[in-house]
């Protein structure tokens, strides 16, 4: 019997030699948030999209209200630049009567330990009562530091520092009615992979929050208090949000 065996093709050999990183799941695992009421320099790339709902309790001079947002990304923050576009319904009292459209350009530098920088314009387009708000421009830098490097849970500390106008104005600027640049920042520690604790300065008050992502789906719940020192006229308020991201 004449038995012949066809030699393996290059692709067949590669198929045999390639090491299957079988521990990496197809879908990324969920991760809790790293900032609260202020932006970070991380953003959505092409293929990323998100939707979310937020609620805030009544303050000294405001009522209980909610907001909704959805967004998606373009580009790639690692290879070139990512662009996140988001639409926010800033009040659920009269659904979609007031809203904004925002943009964020973001860039990640893998060679600098994944340092991320972003420039944003939160309310490039606005309607309803949102038209009464001044423009919110901002720049932010985010860096992550592993507190327990080399471990399965490296306990990442994520620090975001930025400067911006509009939503990030100081109390003095708010009183004076100008739109001067001001600083903001947040610090988040992912204590366990499913939970992070966050404190933030939004330019006029301090906030504290916890963010949890308890499921294998990218659903994130964040809850905390804004203005914990009760130093603005609105006072301390409880904020909660539910965000869901998906890939396409």
């Amino acid at each position: 019997m004449d038995e012949t065996f066809a030699p393996l093709t290059d692709s067949e050999i590669r198929e045999l030699l390639l090491i299957d990183p079988n521990f990496v799941p197809e879908a990324p695992r969920s991760s809790p948030g790293s900032s609260f009421l202020v932006p970070s320099a991380y953003g959505a790339d092409w293929g990323d999209a998100f939707v979310g709902l937020s609620g805030v309790t009544a303050g000294n001079q405001t009522d209980l209200d909610g907001s909704a947002s959805l967004g998606m990304g373009f580009g790639d923050a690692v290879d070139n630049i990512g662009v996140e576009v988001s639409v926010g319904i800033i009040s659920l009292n009269g659904f979609a009567d007031d809203g904004i459209v925002g943009f964020k350009l973001h860039k990640v530098f893998p060679e600098a330990n994944n340092l991320a920088v972003a420039l944003g314009w939160s309310n490039a387009a606005k309607w309803g009562d949102a038209r009464n708000s001044p423009d919110t421009f901002y720049g932010v830098v985010t860096q992550r530091f592993d507190l327990d490097p080399g471990e399965a849970n490296p306990v990442p500390l994520t620090v975001s520092l930025g400067a911006g106008t509009g939503s990030f104005r100081s109390r003095g600027a708010l009183l004076a009615g100008n739109n001067d640049l001001n600083f903001f920042g947040s610090v988040g520690v992912r204590v366990i992979p499913e939970l992070s604790v966050i404190s933030s300065w939004n330019g006029s008050s301090v906030g504290v929050a916890a963010s949890v992502a308890p499921f294998d789906i990218p659903l994130v719940m964040t809850a905390g208090f804004s203005d914990v020192m009760d130093s603005t006229v609105t006072g301390t308020r409880f904020n909660a949000s539910l965000g869901y991201s998906f890939s396409f």
């Binding site: 390639l18 090491i19 932006p39 994944n114 399965a152 849970n153 301090v206």
Partner: protein, 221 residues
């Protein structure tokens, strides 16, 4: 391991408390020059961070945990060590084609020295392995070798580097790779480490192998 978990506790408390203290300090001192206004700032949704999904958009390769890898460095290191011990016992390696490739003590020694380096100047061991791999792949390719510590993050990088190299090989080099005891041995070390993660938290540290690292292969430019 328990000590390691406890050692992180001061940092877990210190950093958030320090941050909160600094922020509260700003809050207390700011009113002296900025009286309270009539509108709270920062309540407007600004981006994905406003609903907490920014953590998901953080670079995925930042840590193994975000990719679902929960294996410990000790488990990865133990798996590498066990793989080396198995090679030393059998003095051979099974190629991906099923062929049994004999390994000389000298070939094994070079691989073990590079991967199990425990400090000091490991460059000679890496150079020796680099030369050995280059020669077994036909001599017209230069393979750079470095070794990183065993961790989930580094395992992802090491496997990615090996696969990148495999995708870069020519037909002749691919044929040579399948018949190269050293290349197949390094590949087996990485594959064994990857298998360890399938049973996250599994894997034992073999005697004397606690410091085994992970080889990173790349084509020299």
């Amino acid at each position: 391991m328990q000590t390691s978990k406890l050692a992180i506790l001061p940092s877990l408390i210190r950093f958030p408390m320090l941050a909160l203290f600094c922020l509260l300090l700003v809050d207390v001192t700011a009113p002296s020059k900025a009286s309270a206004g009539n509108v709270p700032a920062g309540d407007t949704a600004v981006d994905g961070a406003a609903i907490g999904v920014d953590g998901i958009f953080a670079p995925a390769e930042a840590d193994g945990a975000s990719c679902g890898v929960t294996v410990t460095p000790a488990a990865v290191s133990g798996s590498v060590s066990n793989s080396l011990l198995s090679l030393q016992r059998t003095q051979s390696i099974t190629s991906v084609t099923g062929a049994e490739l004999t390994m000389s003590p000298a070939q094994l020694s070079v691989i073990t020295a590079a991967v199990s380096a425990t400090g000091g100047d490991i460059q000679p061991a890496l150079t020796a392995l680099s030369n050995q791999l280059s020669a077994e792949l036909g001599g017209d390719v230069a393979v750079d070798v470095s070794v990183v510590s065993s961790s989930a993050n580094n395992l992802i990088s090491a496997i990615s580097a090996a696969n990148t190299l495999i995708n870069s090989l020519t037909s002749v080099q691919l044929e040579a790779a399948m018949e190269s005891p050293s290349f197949m041995a390094v590949r087996q070390v990485l594959a064994a480490a990857a298998d360890t993660t399938e049973n996250a938290e599994g894997g034992e540290v073999a005697e004397g192998g606690g410091n085994a690292g992970l080889p990173i292969l790349s084509l020299a430019r």
